[in-house]
Symmetry: D2
């Protein structure tokens, strides 16, 4: 049996994450060939030309979709474009990997799901990268094996290092706010680790601890939320933009016979320092360093799922559900009331 | 200057915690003399007779209050008795240390505060023991010194080891429920560490993960709550009766320039084991082991405050406020709505 | 059965450690009464007069031994005085607790042992305080229970915080050097945890990393040693005077089915800080903070052993053996050769 | 500037480590092409045929060296063959990567060095993989930046999980013994982290704790060694074959202003479990999992050094020096005497 030929992939959007995906596809995903890239930004295309001259550069998305032999696209574009770009790609017969979140509008999620249902031979996946992290996968495996009995509660947090440049503040008008931008990962993890249970009610609260300039966007820089699921399961979330020590993604799953934590200490590596500051470890500066391997695993999973026609680890329904819960959190934050789902 | 003579103390209630207080007062609190004990339970008085024959035994509380020379009482009795016993003691001219919670009724708290105001020369303190723990004191000191900038959020949990005997289930009819029994400590810590801010709203949720027999008492064995304070500060609480690994009290205070955690790993001591289970530490089995030193510090603080007429570290107002917030959490749990304070 | 009356104890030497023992005996050891103290230093006697006026002050050791009712002495004096003072005390019919090391001369150890054998009704114990630390006791218990199979190797270190004042350098002429001053604890632990095996050979090496002024005393500020025991057991030691982060006593016992470590992280308490230095814990500044509870347990053990005529946890033979091995290490360091025992 | 074409590499030896190198070169080293493999074992060639059909299979080493276009070989063969195979490859004009240890004979090291000097255009590197581990690289960088002041002492250990199958016992006749097989890594790290200082004396000791069948080979399953370097620097080593919890490579570098540790807890990943065994993390089962990324980094370093004619991170002199020190340790173990270098 000979292996299928390399999957011809185009990367759309070459910002920080787009370049990361391009690098991974070009050098670390054995089954993929980076055949094309697309960006409206000249400097980004220059970067691609220099690093991956074999990948054809496009300024226009439609033109990229017409690239000869192109089989799949990686959409690393602004969230507002996702739904439209996915639908266009599907109609052009391309498999689609799309960065999270799928959309900030539930109707978009539904439109995408409807279109995808018309192309059952095409794979569509949203990038909930944490599911592909080796530690999260180990946690899920142990839960499936019964190590902690019946899981009934998840605590999950996404805490970013304080960025004095306030990048995310400029991004606030289109990010969907703290819960849709950050907690959407934790929501997906909670559903995945509790067994795809259905959310019934959320409540959220938050503060502007440092970034008072978020007020015009009705956003917060630190937010808490509780989500109640069917069957008496619970999740609790925390998201922050103001950590002093680095990026800290942490998740705890509590069951009737034990608890599993992922990321209880956000150490950058295996180095420990003992000096006048005490005994200490440096933390991962951002999610990029924390999940660098998981991005590779995710891309391999998607590429191999396409090449060998295997099922994807997560569905468009998962992405829509995370969006639905995240939007309810935002609504709860704004209205200061629980929101039933 | 000669030191004042030993404070003559009577311990009322000789259950597990009462005996612990008696032991501490008799052997580890230099300024105190255990001169009397009181219990309606014969076996408990037998224990006292055997261990502290010099302490006069009483079955009746009024009789103990009349013990010659008695200056202070430690009330380690059922919560429902606290308010009445405190008031009686104050009227008898005794200083009072009372185990937490002060009461399950706000009116009781007010009655006690009113009576105490009539006896300004008498000290009254509720046993929020965690404030006396060396690690919590260190955390508070560091916050006061500005180590983490402006603190704006607290996460605090009280998680007890699963008890197959279900002691606390039998206790459920009178315990006030999970939030008033366990989280009341966390509530007090949050107020203390955030700077005595005023709570304005709480929301709570919970599950019965193992102890389904709590249903008749409308109690849960795992509960979550969010508390909003004035000035945009937040606290998040978790309490559990079902931990597999032991008792885990943990508190995080997040500020604008850092975070301080107390109890991130509930290790029993400094022993680490590396064997087929991995690299591991055993956990504190219960709050008794976790706070054994803090109970001594607490008793010393109270005894010295009386002997040297120093201010107490916490007031009846603190105890009333913790009760008020805990009761609101219970109400929110039952009504499934936020409760404004 | 009535408990024996309080043991009348005199503390001899009121430097830092002497005051610590006096404090413990006066306030934390229920079975003891601090009836007398002795020091040739006026300021030290002043301290005693102020804090423990009920304890009679003596400048002269012989006078203290004649104190009416005195039953036991705690010797916290310069090492060179230990042997003579113990023998004098024994001849005066007093029980003796003596700080480590017993002596820097093996003949002294033998003289003390010989004299003690003439007074079998008197208790004599050297202060190997670590045996009384709760974590070390837990480790020993777990080893006895077979948790790690057959223990065959110990690694133990005593690392002190760098002291810019160089106190220990001034102490170097009489300290016996790094191995007899610091490692003697580790040696005793290794023997205790491996089952009182007999040492057959040692080899040592060392450097002067910072304290080059130790050269005249042929001492080092960082030293390594290997000790071989009968039956194919091994111990490895490290002692240092130059730690930046604090005092770190750490011991690992490796067995055929696991490893137990005590003190793998020298955290001061349960506080963890996350800030721009990373995630960190502060370390115990010195052995005083690290072993504060163990000093109390040790004193209680000794006092109760006397009062109830119970066996002591360690013998003069243990102290002599630790001295013998420590001296061999020093010899090996100086001669740059293995030393057989 | 166009990048050089892919380096044509042949892998020689397809045991566990050979397959690992083949996998890495074929899929994770962008600059390399796996064009040929060599093994005398039919099953190993079958594996290669199945996984990398594009790589030509050879049974004979000389034949592989004659493969058209071959530029470099990876030697993953028995240690006894290394020197001869390196020399043959150099004479055939090939760059050489050779697994550690370079040889068990110093003369072999010298022969290789001499031959290599005749081919200055060819790169030769031994696989001291730990130098390429991200944590070790971070440690070295921090030391270079002065974080711990002047480093003066290294403790380094290589502890393998107990293997009931006793693979390494069968390997004992040709492994060179514990120190040359395991500690050779630690020796190289010590030299690298202390600044390539020159060793002057070693002393070693060891026990057979479990594998008593090592006696015929005069080998031990747990060994300790001390190495003295010029300039008053020290290193201490521990190697073991009998760990219950997994593989634990750990290194500490102590300097005048702090200490850096790598691998203080050999956690497999970021998962922590809290259950009846306490709070625990699973350990890396073997060096394969611990250093999986470092093997890739190492291969990339070598391949890029060849392609871009950059200096190698380590020299044949480094490999020879590690062998020299490791052999002295073995000699010291056998003769029970210090060995001067």
């Amino acid at each position: 049996m000979s292996a299928p030929s390399l999957l011809q992939v185009g990367v759309v959007g070459l910002g920080r994450m787009g370049r990361r995906h391009a690098d991974n596809l070009a050098t670390l995903v054995p089954g993929a060939a980076l055949c094309a890239v697309c960006s409206p930004v000249a400097a980004e295309l220059d970067w691609a030309r220099q690093h991956y001259p074999e990948a054809r550069q496009y300024q226009d998305y439609e033109a990229l979709l017409a690239h000869p032999g192109l089989q799949a696209v990686f959409l690393v574009t602004p969230t507002a474009l996702h739904a439209g770009q996915i639908i266009t790609a599907l109609r052009a017969g391309k498999h689609v990997f799309c960065e999270k979140p799928l959309s900030l509008e539930l109707e978009d999620c539904l439109r995408v799901q409807t279109e995808a249902a018309r192309h059952p031979q095409l794979k569509v996946m949203t990038g909930f990268v944490r599911r592909f992290d080796a530690s999260y996968q180990d946690a899920r495996r142990k839960i499936d094996e019964g190590l902690i009995g019946a899981p009934f509660m998840v605590y999950s947090q996404t805490c970013d290092a304080y960025d004095p440049d306030g990048f995310f503040v400029r991004f606030a008008p289109t990010s969907g706010g703290l819960f849709l931008d950050c907690s959407v990962h934790d929501i997906d993890l909670a559903r995945w680790l509790l067994g795809e249970v259905r959310a019934v009610r959320v409540i959220a609260s938050g503060v502007r601890a440092i970034h008072h300039d978020l007020a015009p966007y009705q956003d917060v820089d630190n937010g808490l939320a509780i989500c109640e699921f069917e069957g008496g399961r619970l999740a609790s979330f925390y998201a922050s933009r103001t950590m002093a020590h680095g990026h800290e993604t942490m998740t705890e799953v509590t069951g009737t016979r034990g608890r599993i934590s992922v990321g209880a200490n956000p150490h950058l590596n295996r180095v420990t320092i003992a000096d006048t500051h005490g005994v200490r470890s440096e933390s991962t500066p951002s999610f990029i360093e924390r999940f660098s391997e998981a991005f590779v695993t995710e891309a391999r999973h998607f590429v191999d799922a396409v090449r060998f026609d295997r099922p994807l680890a997560l569905s468009l329904g998962d992405a829509a559900e995370a969006t639905r819960i995240g939007m309810a959190m935002r609504k709860s934050l704004l209205e200061q009331q629980p929101v039933s789902l």
